[in-house]
Symmetry: C2
Subunit: 167 residues, 2 copies
């Protein structure tokens, strides 16, 4: 029987991977044209939410001290600005699909290598001094927060039904 804290870390990873795989399932059904659909009238397009989640997860690489970011350039369009506000050169749907897959692969692999103790180490947005006073500001709380963040947007994305067209 593994130690209880390794069971906790494993369960958190299972929860994360379930949410990512649910989004992957949606992406396998939506055509690139479908990605231009809004999740509800006047709300974000699937395209934007895919870029948003990719940028947020890419940022987790540095925030959780797991390695260099792969796509920091996505932040401007998909974190700092709302949907349809960005006026620069946009990535294609294919670009975003590729980035989404690469970012989650790198991130999940790095998370799987963390020991339970390493999950409880500080994240990069808090200093070592402050972390002594606020030990709950660790990788784990960020990780659980990003898991529910992804689930929240997945719930919105699943409102769009795939069209029957072949990709």
């Amino acid at each position: 029987m593994p130690s209880s804290d390794s069971q906790f870390a494993a369960a958190a990873l299972v929860s994360w991977k379930r949410v990512i795989s649910q989004i992957d399932k949606g992406l396998a059904g939506w055509s690139d044209a479908d990605l231009q659909s809004e999740v509800a009238p006047g709300r974000n397009r699937l395209y934007y939410l895919l870029g948003h989640l990719t940028a947020v997860h890419d940022h987790m690489l540095s925030l959780l001290r797991l390695g260099d970011r792969l796509y920091p350039a996505l932040d401007e369009q998909f974190i700092k600005q709302p949907d349809r506000a960005f006026t620069g050169a946009e990535p294609t749907a294919a670009d975003l699909r590729k980035a989404w897959t690469e970012v989650n692969a790198k991130l999940t692999a790095a998370l799987e290598r963390l020991s339970p103790e390493e999950f409880l180490e500080r994240h990069s947005a808090i200093s070592e001094e402050d972390f002594v006073k606020e030990p709950q500001r660790n990788r784990l709380t960020v990780f659980l927060g990003r898991t529910t963040h992804a689930a929240m947007h997945e719930g919105q994305m699943r409102l769009v039904k795939p069209t029957q067209s072949v990709r």
Copy 2:
């Protein structure tokens, strides 16, 4: 410094309480009439999702072996049937608001009393014999799964903006 597994349990509870409180915030803004709004055209009404989450969380009381259920009668309308299919006597919006608050209060209080080791005990839908072979089928994995489930529906619910009418 608390033990590492108590930090894991505490972090999971923080994540759960954040999602519940986000839904509470939505409910404070929506009028009872707003609850009749669909989250997107042809999709579930807020009223249905509120009943659905209340029923699912009420069921967690028995599934996690935390005490008797408070509102098992909600299952028929809000779990077994899709929105608008139920033909019996429906609870009012006020009934659902009350049930939602009571269920989460009882559930969260019971979860807060669990030790880390108790989180890793089996849930009620698996036998003691099977649990020996599949120790990951514990309260914790159900709890994390229900947290992302609630977050997923919260993401849908937040698509409905409150009207300006006074409740």
